[in-house]
Amino acid sequence: MNLFRGLGLIIGLELRQRVRGVAWYVLIGVFVALVAIVTLLLWFTTHTWSTDGADGAGGWLYSLIIYFVLLLGTLATPALSGNAVNGERDAGTLATTQVTLVSTTQIVLGKFVAAWIASLAFLVASLPFVIVAFVLGNLDVGTVVVSFLVLAAELGVLAAIGVALSAIVTRPLFSIVLSYLVVAALSVGTLIAFGLLGSVTTSTATETYIGFEADEYDDATGEPIDPVCQEPRTHTYDVPRFDYYWGILAANPYVVIADAAPGGFDTHGTPTNLFSALSSGVRSLQTPPVLDSVRDICNGGAPGATYLADQPTPEEVHDAAVPSWFVGLGIHVLVAAGALWWAIARTRTPAKRLPTGSRVA
């Protein structure tokens, strides 16, 4: 059978029986209500900021909406796709489909595409609020396009993993739980692993401090009069080495979206949305800590905090560092494709080996 015809049949079948239920519309309704509340609150808190339209909160609202879609997508997709194959096997309808001319590849891929389409419904439902974000201003079209595409790809990865697990694991309950564990590992587990590993791995840093002494201070300015520089004093302390582990965060879907979105900085180089704030923060972790620093507040007889001068802005940090989103997304897509391939191999008939405790029909 023609590949697309078989795929289309399975997708239609899935969407008709699995998705089109009351629960699904309730979920979408709850999502719309939540995003509406967030939009309203952001509107009230931020419309006073904007005096000239240049610092509107549209970017913040938009990035929040996208993260909402990702959050709900990660919560709903495993439930919708996590029993796609083994649930049908339990119901006795998988084998009756497999004896038709539709191939196993078409069955598994069709279920994956259907689950993906279902999770994209959240993205579609969020569109009216994206328009509100544009009205609020300060939102880059490039940011919108890229984050939409990357979010869609991430939802696809989640759908693929859910469907694949439902074919690999025999019991529906188990595969749904496992899909949630994968989501949790990517969203929260990467943060925990990063934090723990970075804290455990420490280096010894040495700081040299040069102070000054002055007998008198100018009453008017508070500046010291005739300061005398002291001998440099050094002390050592442990610093965590997060720079070794920043790659772990690249596997986090929230970081992938943030890192992929271009722009998002104002003329002072400070972030104008959650994506650029997060990605400049994450990218700054690539810089190793300074292990041999000098804090010279005496400054050769002219005391001041000049050692603090010339700190890079978040935008400069962001642009100087290595982008990691395509590595993270690439790994996600590879894992998803591999899982689907395994799922197809596992479901193919005539079956040679059956997982223990399962039956073909």
């Binding site: 059978m1 049949l9 006795g92 998988l94 084998a95 489909t97 191939s103 005539p350 040679k352």
Partner: protein
Amino acid sequence: MTESMTDSPPADGVVVDGVARSFGSVHAVRQASFTARSGSITGLVGPNGAGKTTLLLMLATLLRPDAGSIRIAGIDPVADPVAVRALIGWMPDTLGTWSSLSPRTALTTIGRMYNLDVQAARRRASELLATVGLTHLADRPARVLSRGQKQRLSLARALVHSPRVLLLDEPASGLDPAARTELRALLRRIADDGATILISSHELAELEVISDAAVYMSAGLTASSDALTHAATTTRQWRIRALGDAPLATALQQIGVAPENIATDNRGTLVSVTGDADAAQLLSALVAAGTAVTSFAPAVGDFEHTFLDLTKNSAADQHPEPGPEGAAQ
């Protein structure tokens, strides 16, 4: 292994030769060999856990045999499952229906999965719904169907693409007597058109009415012809009814039937007889003795007798299968 393949196999039939399949340590099918001819209905007879469902799953291209060969209309289901799928209609023993879809939608979808275009699939669905008597429920969700109605829907699904080979796993269970009669007539029509029909069941009387031939299966083995001959010549009970009980008892005594071979139940007198020749002799003796015989027939059907005899022998020959319910798993 290919001996039986050499004497020209029926073009449209099913030929199974030395097929075995095990699941881990459970040997569901040990050695199955039989031929089902086109244009006829073959019954697959055996107790629960005999391996009937596993055998049908292998014929339906869902399971790969560990050993042996299968030919469906001359095609090997392992080598070319797609070609076999286009030919076979399979009705499983588990009643799977897409519960939120109506029978009409389900059948139309299945039709399209067999490459029918939308119009043809819709036509075929309406036709089959009428054939199996589900037209009045055609547009309700399938979850409202009763067990018997789901059974009919399952049969309709197996027939969507007018298959040349029909594999039916317990098709009559859950059907009322009228529906069974209709099913028999329908299957006979399909067989008369030249299709090969293989029906598995443990309801022997039912199967005996419809089948042209039988394959006996027990503990994963199909019965050999020796075993079948043996079964045909073992002692079985015949039920005799005559006008008046007393004259019959007297007549039996006069003919010289040993009292231990005579029993009675609420439907007549039972006499143990070995083989058909003895039965014929007994009948003519009774008639000659002037008994007004109104009914003279085997107390159990041929299938049941053969089946019971084979089960008895195989139980004596070998250890019973552990966990017979796991055989289809």
